[in-house]
Amino acid sequence: MQDFVYERPQTMAQAVALLRRGDARVLAGGTDLIAQMREGRRSVGCIVDIKRIGELTGILPLPEGGVAIGAAVTAATVSRSSPIAANFPAVARAARLIGGVQVQNRASLGGNICNAAPSADAVPALVCHAAEARIAGPTGTRQLPLETLFIGPGKTTIERGELLVSIVLPPPSARSAVAYLRFTPRREMDIAIAGAGTYLRLDQGGVIAEARVTLASVGPTPMRAPLAEQRLVGERPTRALLAEVGRCAARDARPISDTRGSADYRRSLIAVLTMRALGDCCGQLGMDLEASSK
């Protein structure tokens, strides 16, 4: 590992100033960064430890409802937070999938996002909740839809001198639900071969008014599934519909073949995971799919 300067700023302004250095990197939990540095995959001249900055380390309820989760908040804290469990249970459950307990106690939500792995477990549930990313830079802060942050494996639109501050979750709509399911060969401590997050909002008559389907590990970034989403809107959920939507999502997926699974296998998984995640949403909404399928 090359030598580096270790900085522990107390304010966002200090952090942003330090990050102007081209070889500076943000340290939150370090579960990706330190492993990458030790394996010589990343050279860093200045480490900016953001865990002493108050705005980055808390879960803040917002006046209009919803919450802002500081980028340095750990996965363990997210999974145990009562405002998140109450309004965003799929996010709490996704946080429990990141590594094992030791990793969850260190890994931050912001790191899971900024590491920009196509398999990042927290991302599909957040995107399904229409999360926004709040980013601070030398000229102030900007806020953009989380899904627009990703441009490739390990690459985001966050620029040098910028810092992810928080993930903003708007209050969930009435009659809506989110679910995230992934497939791993091992039950825990594994990277998703494929994952699917789904969001459904029903109108008062039980018809799907809005839908989001977000896929993991089947493209260079976490990705929305437009065919699947279009097929859902305006319909009443039935077993047959959910199975068909799963097949749409499989067509939306852009997987590659690698050591963890072939592209065909990943597409098959997406069809099943999407169908089951939608079924989970229907269950949360108190719908009896068997009855509505008759």
Binding site: G30, A35, D49, K51, G99, Q102, R106
Partner: protein
């Protein structure tokens, strides 16, 4: 570069001259001589480097020594009281929940963090708590049994 690092390890304030690049694991093993925590994979998969930071299990190989000041660190060396093993250690011995022993310090500490938060965990909760600790010898059954048994002992006090 070298730097002086002061932190609380096993209840004592310790100061060591460390390399600025040292991980917490290197600080513990190479500077403080506490070799109970091991390096297995070095990337957060195996859990043999597990220590408790303010009561929470973490991989000490993925934390910089420079992050340690201000935190309370517990290693396996801090668990037994003089010659008396901690009930979790005793239960591991009695249940045969160890063979080569390489993973054992990490597993005992993961179990301690679990039982401190959840006095009588279920099988599933125990297995979740030690999912980040790989054991290639035992098959986990006797480890889970030992943690149940330690839970009962600790709850009965």
């Amino acid at each position: 570069m070298n730097t002086l690092i002061t932190c609380t390890v096993n209840g004592e304030e310790r100061t060591a001259l460390a390399d600025t690049r040292d991980t917490l694991l290197e600080l513990l093993r190479d500077r403080l001589g506490l070799t109970g925590a091991k390096e297995g994979c070095g990337n957060g998969n195996c859990g043999t480097c597990t220590v408790l930071i303010d009561g929470a299990a973490v991989c000490s190989c993925l934390m910089l020594a420079q992050e340690a000041p201000g935190h309370d660190i517990l290693t396996i060396e801090g668990l037994a009281k003089a010659d008396t093993l901690h009930p979790i250690q005793q239960a591991i011995v009695e249940s045969g929940g160890t063979q080569c022993g390489f993973c054992t310090p990490g597993i005992v500490l993961s179990a301690k963090a679990l039982l401190d938060a959840n006095a009588l965990p279920t099988d599933a909760e125990i297995r979740h708590a030690i999912a980040g600790n790989l054991c290639r010898c035992t098959g986990y059954g006797k480890i889970v049994e030992a943690i149940h048994s330690a839970a009962t002992t600790l709850a009965g006090r």
